[in-house]
Amino acid sequence: MKRTTNIDSAFVCHCARIRHSELLEIFSESSNPSYEDFKQRYGIGAQCASCEYEVQAILDEFLGSHAPDIVHLPKGHIRDRILDRADSLRRWLKNLRRQRNSKEETAPKVNTRACMFFVHTGALQSSVVVSNINNPESNINPNQGTVLFRIQVYDSSGSLVQETKALTVRPNETKELFIADIFDHPADDFLGSVYVEYYDLVTTNTLRPYCVLNYFGPGGTLRSRQHYHDKLYTGIIPGFVQSPSALMPCRECWVAMVNCSTHEFDAILSLRLNSEIRRVTQHFSPRQSVFLSISQLFGLGIADSAVDAHFWIDSERYVMTYYFWHVLETDVWIGQHH
């Protein structure tokens, strides 16, 4: 077991007496920084090793901040802030002039998108949440202020049924949109997927879109709010396409599956129950969504105690999958949030 000797000290590595700022200096002076190298050369993490994770984390961050695709954000000093604001104003005026001269030339373009499962019934009502928060130190918005986005909605069979006009989310604004805010004529029951598409985004910052699964109990009282976010991925792995909690006591597990691609394929849904494996084939047409309970899929009841049940999906294409549980005892819906 590692000894922890540097609690309450300003040193990252107490044994080698190295502070955070000194560590960064060492990293910046090295042409090819690696933990193993520093361990050997400076003794960082070489004795009690309790700082290993932190040094690795700082190194990881240092390397990340020097990666080629990094978006450099303004610093928090007053002079920089004034200069950056002046720069933003100049850019805004320039854009305004360009817009006046040629509307087509500056037409905003979608450059990033994310997909989420979406459901609307009497009790379960998904909503979309987007949040455009300024940099917490400089208060400068890295996307130059108001961000434009639109929402496309596909129904369960994969047909595009709604596309909003360009919507806005202002600096420091967090917007939550229910079905009535998205659809021109909202349906009472809807199952499908939503694609949040951003225009000319510079950096994702806090704009990774979320959905909330709102659950309204009898009398319309809000009983639960479970967040979940995009898992759009066009490859095959990695992806959380499994759940080891398929049969938890007194809670019914539901699986929401979306084919985000335009391909058609079959997926094998498997449930290992103790040592027995049960399999069901699920066909996915392009952009199709499916929302089924483990009970419905495999003809099982709800467990009284924890069962060794493991659910997973095998398919040639990625299936974006969310797991939700209706907790019967407290009548709330919770979800897997990875």
Partner: protein, 253 residues
């Protein structure tokens, strides 16, 4: 001097263990979540830390696992080995294969399913990255975590779980942000090394139809933060989520 160490190594992830008369945590690890190599053997080691000393107080390790296996351990099994009277423990899951990671995904998280008799804690999370996540986050004078709370509904409160994976203590502050009012500080404190801190506060009711709220957690060290939504009247948890850092890159899927 050359090293035999591979370029990439498996790294641990962190989570909180809730245990006691009311709480149960079901921990599960299946290599299948990111691996597909049937020839390899995998393993899962769980280390529980004593919040009073910041030292490991119990460690357990799975037998070698095949790709198809799922290693499970419950807080009820761990409970007899842990200090009494503590409900929340900081833990690390070190899940490995007998070959180095094939790509930048160097952490294999465990799955945590939280249950409680009273309903005070319920949710399903993956263990959090300590380091090694292939993404680029903003770091200024402090570290920041963001959670888009959305609309504030009446009768809801937020319980924030802050996990400190490092041995040094970390100060933190929690702020609510909205379009009209930026960064209202709602809570602050310190999380000792290798332990879990919690703060809770009422969620303000939104005034406008779209006027949502976001939470920003600022901390000295890179904490892992989890947000639990709670019905104030009953104390029942009705949402358990993680946030994200301020990303300095454009995510294009």
């Amino acid at each position: 001097m050359t090293s035999d160490k591979p370029e990439r190594e498996w790294v641990p992830t962190s989570f909180f263990l809730a245990t006691g008369d009311d709480y149960t945590t079901e921990i599960a690890f299946s290599p299948r979540q990111i691996m597909r190599n049937t020839a390899l053997r995998y393993a899962s080691a769980i280390t529980v830390y004593d919040p009073k000393s910041g030292r490991p107080c119990y460690r357990t390790r799975s037998q070698p696992l095949s790709l198809e296996d799922c290693y499970r351990i419950s807080s009820t099994t761990l409970q007899p080995h842990l200090p009494v009277g503590i409900e929340l423990f900081y833990c690390e899951a070190f899940n490995t294969a007998d070959a180095p990671p094939p790509d930048a995904n160097v952490a294999m998280p465990s799955n945590l399913h939280y249950m409680s008799k009273s309903g005070r804690l319920q949710g399903d999370l993956g263990s959090n990255y300590i380091y090694g996540a292939p993404r680029k986050a903003f770091k200024g004078q402090l570290y920041y975590d963001h959670f888009p709370l959305g609309l504030g509904f009446p009768g809801m409160m937020l319980r924030v779980f802050l996990m400190n994976p490092y041995v040094r203590p970390s100060d933190f502050r929690v702020a609510l942000t909205s379009k009209t009012r930026r960064n209202r500080r709602t809570a602050e404190g310190q999380v000792p090394g290798k332990s879990v801190g919690t703060v809770e506060f009422d969620i303000p009711i939104s005034k406008g139809r779209h006027s949502g709220l976001a939470i920003i957690v600022a901390s000295e060290l890179k904490l892992n933060v989890v947000y639990g939504t709670v019905i104030r009247a009953t104390g029942v948890m009705c949402g358990l989520d993680h946030g994200h850092p301020f990303l300095n890159q454009l995510l294009i899927h």
